[in-house]
Amino acid sequence: MAKRNYRPLASVKALQKTMGRYYALTNYHRYWGKPFRRPLAWVTSGAPVELLRSFKIHSAYPEQYAAIYSARNTTVALCEIADSAGYSQDLCSYARSNIGGVLRPDLAPLGGMPKPDLLVACNNICGTVLKWYEALARHFNIPLLVLDTPYLTDEMTQQAKDYVLEQLYAMAVDLEKITGRPFNEKNLAKQMRQSAEITSLWKETRQYCQANPSPLNAPDLFIHMAPIVVLRGSQEGIDYYRKLKAEVKERVALGQGAVENERIRLVWDNIAIWPQLFTFYKMFADKGACFVSDTYSGGWASLQSPGTPMESLATTYTEVFLNRSPEFRANQLINLIRDYKADGFVMHSNRSCKPYSLVQEVIRKKVMRETGVPGLMIEADMADLRAYAEEPVRNRVQAFLETFD
């Protein structure tokens, strides 16, 4: 049997329970949604879910289901369905596998996603979501609410803030019509408070990884980010992250590392390579290389901006890192490398995620220049295994790790 040099987390049990409950609720929404007057929304990962929660809307995330499709090796089959329906192979593999799952739910894990009552797309993460959700809106013939967050070339501007704020108020009016419930600012404030708490817990948990050895490695971060994506603002999410934080804190106190004999500390940039989650990161762990932080799951650890609940929503969701300049993103990586005392970084040039990947070479050069640590670029895809060439990837990883010998 292959040697295991990876320390499992006890919190995985709680994670499975928390997420299992969420999936059960979501997939059986058709039985309880109507009687409780709680519509189901499909939302993008950067949608202002606290506003939806304040209207008692239940949210499901196509991106998150797409990651599960991929981890269960069904992405290629689902993408082929979308390819046959005319969607280009150059489109995002989350979009294609989601559409494939809509057309053929029998081929999708968990029986595909439950049928939505409305769609909410925010383009702070990418522009693809607009056309993707338009296609879904036509298919299901349901309302699509769009939040347009202007790209920030520098800091947030008053004009951008006003523009987003106005849309949020308009969205609240639409949601009143859809749900039959009035907008309640107190409800929203409560959701924002709970959301802030869960974000702080996630942030503090991550910060423990500044310890040497690091208590968590990239696959831990990617697996344990699930609740902050889908249960942001919920009490279950808060309960879960309290448990995780306590376990990680204890690991640090005991000096336990996620990777045995941690020798090289790395920072990861871009979405996980879901279909290779363990085999890919094992190549690093086998050589004592641990990913102590990353920009992807760290995207959910940004604290809320000040202001009224609506103002805070407007700023927080416009300032997400994928909506920021290459300078901002380079500085983000530089700070992670310094704060986590990393020896290098690895960038996943993700064929699917254009806004994340297109500027990476510029960022890579700047970060290498300013920190003096090496940076490796890997070409792959977050979900579509056909874009992953195993031997060339192994070659690059080996050569990169040899530079630390």
């Binding site: 070479e361 290498m368 940076g375 070409e379 060439a389 070659n395 080996q398 050569a399 040899e402 530079t403």
Partner: protein, 260 residues
Amino acid sequence: MQKYFVGVDIGSLTVKVVLINDDLEILGTAMTRAGFSGRDVAARLKDQLISDSGLTAQVIGATVATGYGRVTFPSDREVSEITCQAKGISHLFPTARTVIDIGGQDSKVIKLLSNGRVADFAMNDKCAAGTGRFLEVMAAALEVEWQEISELASTSENPAKISSFCTVFAESEIISHVSTGALKSDILAGVCDSVASRVASMTRRTGLEPDIVFTGGVAHNQGVVNALSKQLGYPLLVSREPVITAALGAALLASELRKA
């Protein structure tokens, strides 16, 4: 007692073996097509090189394997081609700062620190454009032996434009050039330019710092050497035996294993 070291480079197209002594002198080299099982071919080639040099397996201090077949080849250590290539080139050319290596299915650019260590590198991905295989396919389409490419290309006065990077589409482009009556020499010059421009942009991406060494099987092709040198605006250093530099690096690393 004198010890000897072996470097084995099992590439996608060819297998290369280099034998050196304690003084890091090259005693012998051997090369052949990798064929179906590069590993078996490499094992035979290694044994043959050792016996042809009048030695026995007992005096071999260590063997390092590199190249695509490195993982399954029995050796003291397997090391990536990038590290081996850097080692071999900085041994032959201590002033080298940039290495351009075009092999059978890989093209790579390695940036070296002044101590010969790897600072950064870039490689082609999932595509045979700008590789030896690309040249082979185009030569076959024109019914030219690959050794003839450089001589024919050097006579071209009006190189054809090969715009497609894709090996399959470039081949059909060549066929259409042939059907319109273009000269073989012009088409071949266009093919060399195409490989050079693909690799030149990769080189600029890692940052261009002289001295620049061009290595790998394609460095034998003067047509690509000239085209690449012209596009980069720098002279290129080429070793006498560019095919074996990664295997040499592997042998040098094998000699260090013993000292360690």
